[in-house]
């Protein structure tokens, strides 16, 4: 079976915030059921094995960014480089799973190249982080989130409030939003796609 590729901007030891902790609780359990490859922003390019996964890390190629949006675009270029290596080394992917908006460009692009389903876990959005869209920068991030969210076949959310939020603010069809971001819910959804 071709692996499931998870794409994220953080996973231990490359910790930025809370997402690392969540993923280090979730992904090893998924990896015990399906062949799993993780693509993560790291300190340099490389491949190693941990927590039952093959992990492809991508070092930053551009270090100066005027703001978070330019950072996000270049981060995704690095993630695409690592994801491309993961694809070609492992014979493709059966499914791409993206974590948070910041790695969603790479995930959407790689899944459309492979032609496999794209799933996304949404923890926060620009509106929930910023309160409202007051600046052009916030609007830019919101548009990018919406652009990528709309490419996902399923979006995992923690609660009904986030489901309503994605439906109302991002125009996501309610039937594509899966309630629950825990390993069991995720595995159940995988089974529907992978049989």
């Amino acid at each position: 079976m071709k692996p499931i590729i998870h794409i994220t901007w953080e996973y231990p030891p490359f910790v930025v915030g809370d997402l690392s902790k969540r993923l280090s609780d979730t992904l090893p359990r998924i990896a015990s059921r399906y062949p799993t490859v993780l693509v993560v922003r790291g300190d340099s390019d490389g491949v190693f094995e941990a927590d039952g996964m093959k992990i492809y890390k991508a070092g930053p190629s551009v270090r100066t960014h005027p703001h978070i949006l330019t950072y996000a675009h270049l981060l995704n270029l690095d993630l695409i480089r690592a994801a491309a290596n993961a694809l070609h080394d492992n014979g493709g992917a059966s499914l791409i799973h993206s974590h948070d908006w910041i790695s969603s460009i790479a995930s959407a692009y790689v899944s459309s190249y492979v032609g496999c389903p794209l799933l996304m876990s949404v923890y926060t959005t620009e509106i929930t982080r910023s309160g409202s869209l007051k600046s052009l920068l916030s609007l830019g991030i919101f548009d990018l989130e919406r652009h990528c969210f709309q490419r996902a076949e399923r979006l995992f959310v923690q609660d009904t409030m986030m489901r309503e939020h994605l439906t109302k603010e991002y125009g996501i069809d309610r039937g594509r939003v899966v309630l629950g971001n825990d390993p069991e819910t995720i595995l159940e959804t995988y089974r529907r796609f992978l049989g």
């Binding site: 190629s61 551009v62 270090r63 100066t64 960014h65 005027p66 703001h67 949006l69 330019t70 675009h73 270049l74 270029l77 695409i80 480089r81 994801a83 491309a84 290596n85 694809l87 070609h88 080394d89 014979g91 493709g92 460009i105 959407a108 692009y109 790689v110 459309s112 190249y113 492979v114 600046s135 052009l136 920068l137 609007l139 830019g140 548009d143 990018l144 652009h147």
Partner: protein
């Protein structure tokens, strides 16, 4: 081929370059697909001159600045390119489409060739003053690093890409730009008296009104010349225009200067015919395709001895050169030329003759040769798609 500009959306020389190159490559049997920008006023897909043109509209996303706008454009170019599998090589132009070229290279494992037309450090006069400029500079570095080969249009640019971006010289290939005389429409019918008095000879400037093109030097030279028989006509627009208008007043030469702004190509052609001399006083000029146009239309030229202009013009043979940044040296050159009709005739005749090598056919030949070299190296290596 990836380019942020392509007809009908033209910003500068890059769009014209990609247009001519792709057209001639196509006529040589190379299947060319150009991925580029649209604002919605041009079709999302069309065939023209044997070239398949695919356009994406980045205005579906909002952006706080130009760099983000460019990244959004590249995101859409990347997404659109996913359906294009039948190509052997990716050719991208400048940092503006670097990221989509690099993404395509890695995902499809196809070789990437980059043309670097100019650099941020060069455009900014050798220093980077803020994070936007450093961001662009680093993307240029990344492009030169990721490309299998880098094409530059002049020896000057080969040096600049090697020096500023740390690109190994043996990875850079010099292919000078071409000139397409047939691309100029017939000259418009102009009344000379709308532009200058009968006793005034016209000194013509064509280019953007930005510092790196040196339009202020021509005003300073005009002031130093103190000649009543010259009219200085500026074609082009840019951020420096209000400053230049003020400067002409301060120098007391506002009645000798005419800022025309952008003009259609047929009017430009007619202006070249009216001009006694065309001046290109750039402080930074990777190539100087506009000088080739003036030479092709039979106008004697004066250029600053900088960048590509310095390589195109041989002083006293096909044009005159002056010291870059020196308005006194420029004034001297203008004086020498406008009072010497025989020198003008000789320079113009030699200029036309020297254009022989600057053809798009030659550019296409050298580009195909480079493509073959890159594909040969690629085929003999182990880096191949496995998906």
């Amino acid at each position: 081929m990836l380019s942020w500009e392509y007809p009908p959306h033209i910003v500068g020389g890059l769009g014209r370059h990609v247009f001519h190159l792709s057209k001639v490559l196509s006529s040589r049997g190379v299947k060319v697909q150009v991925l580029t920008f649209t604002d919605g006023s041009s079709p999302p897909e069309e065939m023209a001159d044997g070239v398949r043109i695919i356009r994406v509209n980045p205005y579906s996303l909002r952006y706080p600045d130009f760099a983000s706008w460019i990244h959004g454009l590249n995101l859409l170019l990347m997404e659109r390119s996913v359906t294009l599998r039948d190509f052997d090589l990716i050719h991208t132009h400048d940092w503006l489409t670097a990221t989509s070229g690099i993404a395509l290279k890695h995902v499809m494992r196809k070789p990437l060739v980059a043309t670097i037309h100019s650099t941020e450090l060069g455009r900014r006069g050798g220093s980077l003053k803020n994070e936007h400029e450093r961001h662009i500079h680093e993307i240029e570095w990344l492009l030169s690093y990721e490309a299998w080969r880098v094409i530059c249009c002049s020896s000057y640019m080969v040096g600049e890409v090697s020096r500023f971006l740390g690109c190994p010289p043996n990875k850079i290939v010099k292919i000078p730009n071409g000139y397409a005389p047939e691309s100029f429409p017939k000259p418009a019918q102009l009344n000379r008296r709308d532009y200058a008095r009968d006793d005034e000879k016209i000194v013509l400037y064509v280019g953007r009104l930005v510092y790196e093109k040196g339009p202020h030097l021509l005003l300073e030279a005009a002031s130093k010349l103190k000649r009543g028989d010259l009219k200085f006509i500026f074609v082009g627009d840019g951020s420096m225009k209000p400053y230049l208008v003020d400067l002409s007043v301060k120098l007391g030469i506002s009645d000798k200067v005419y800022f025309l702004g952008h003009v259609p190509d047929d009017v430009l052609h007619a202006l070249y015919r009216l001009a006694a001399v065309a001046v290109f006083p750039s402080l930074y000029e990777p190539f100087g395709i506009v000088a080739l146009e003036a030479m092709g239309l039979g106008v004697p030229i004066i250029v600053s001895a900088v960048g590509g202009l310095d390589e195109i013009v041989q002083h006293g043979r096909n044009g005159l050169k002056f010291h870059p940044g020196s308005s006194s040296s420029l004034a001297e050159a203008i004086n020498m030329l406008v009072d010497n009709p025989e020198l003008c005739r000789n320079l113009a005749a030699n200029a036309r003759e020297s254009l022989g090598t600057f053809t798009w056919d030659r550019v296409a030949d050298e580009t195909i040769k480079l493509y073959e070299l890159v594909l040969g190296e690629y085929k003999s290596g182990s880096w191949k798609p496995r998906v």
